[in-house]
Symmetry: C2
Subunit: 215 residues, 2 copies
């Protein structure tokens, strides 16, 4: 595995900002988009349950409808890609069994060998309400959001995380009723417009000692 | 800004796994640790509010106590660094004012010029309960967790995200009562032990079409 340097890392993280104005004429190369979708699929999640689906919305008509439910922010239609992050509304035995069946297949072991793990996980979710499970699943989705934005910056791709949207309206427009998934947030990917004034605006961060403490 | 290649990115993301057994003799070089703490400080957050504190727990006695509240997982004491992720328990006018004062200072503008933004943010948080604000702040913390794990992998540093811990016990051990922050999760950083059996275990992920859909 080839590591990068700390200055490459920090260069990318400082270059990144929440891009508001995208160049609508610039599209992600297929290989770049594929790598970023793979970064989503490779995101860590609790117990490895991957309680998410990522919807890449390409249809211009859908994107126009979604923009109307996102404070009319132009990046919803102008960015190269709009990715809607959805989380499982709950977790049940079927989620656990599907994950463990995949685990057994990948590792070449019997499903029954994972029984202690299955029982532990089943007990864990049994102690939580649907609301608590959705909160938990939504947190995992934000790990994927972080991994995506960091990965994009390193590839020189601009992004903007979006919480300013109506999850219920997104669910309806995207036909998620009954799917077992609900919209949590979104993220657009693409390339900043030449005239995006925020590109040249210094990043606002508290000093290190305000947010990091040593014990 | 120097971009990396997609194969460097995917190489790092595939190399990463939730490391369970760390080589306790291997410590992060200071420059590497500093870059990873900077990746936390540079993490995106909603409105840029940075509703978090990251506690780097170096004291062995504290780490032993925390391990007892983390299902006795060895990585709490054996990894090079233990970072506890805490979120603001709520958000109020002081949080907004502090952020906007910093924004005004960085951009060299009057605080009053940010009044429309201040009013919008104030209205936004006024509509939410403390519980909802903590849920929201906690989600932001998971962006930082994602950014940290991705950054670590790219620098060749192993990590393990940890939710299997008692947040209340962590709060007590770390003296967080009355601080306005509460433990959400943790992440350890360091180098995998030669005998960590999970290092050679294939990653378990659903196929792309199971988690990514195009609309």
């Amino acid at each position: 595995m080839t590591s990068i340097t700390t200055s490459d890392l920090l260069g990318a993280l400082n270059w990144r900002y929440a891009t508001k104005s995208f160049d609508a004429s610039k599209k992600l190369p297929p290989e770049t988009l594929d790598a970023l979708l793979e970064s989503l699929a490779l995101s860590p999640s609790s117990f490895g349950l991957q309680p998410w689906k990522f919807l890449v919305v390409e249809d211009p008509a859908l994107r126009a409808k979604l923009r109307a439910e996102s404070w009319n922010q132009t990046q919803v239609t102008d960015a190269s890609q709009l990715i809607v992050f959805t989380a499982r509304v709950t977790l049940d035995a079927a989620d656990i069994n599907e994950h463990l069946a995949k685990t057994a297949a990948v590792r070449g072991i019997e499903f029954s060998a994972l029984d202690p793990l299955r029982q532990m996980m089943t007990g864990f979710i049994a102690g939580k309400s649907d609301d608590e499970l959705f909160v938990w699943n939504s947190r995992q989705v934000y790990i994927a959001l972080g991994q995506l934005m960091t990965s994009a910056a390193l590839l020189g791709v601009d992004s903007c995380p979006m919480e300013g949207l109506s999850p219920a309206a997104y669910d309806e427009i995207l036909g998620l009723a009954g799917s077992g998934y609900r919209t949590v947030c979104a993220c657009v990917l693409g390339y900043r417009a030449d005239d995006d004034k925020y590109a040249a605006t210094p990043k606002v961060r508290y000093p290190r000692e305000r947010v990091v403490a040593v014990r």
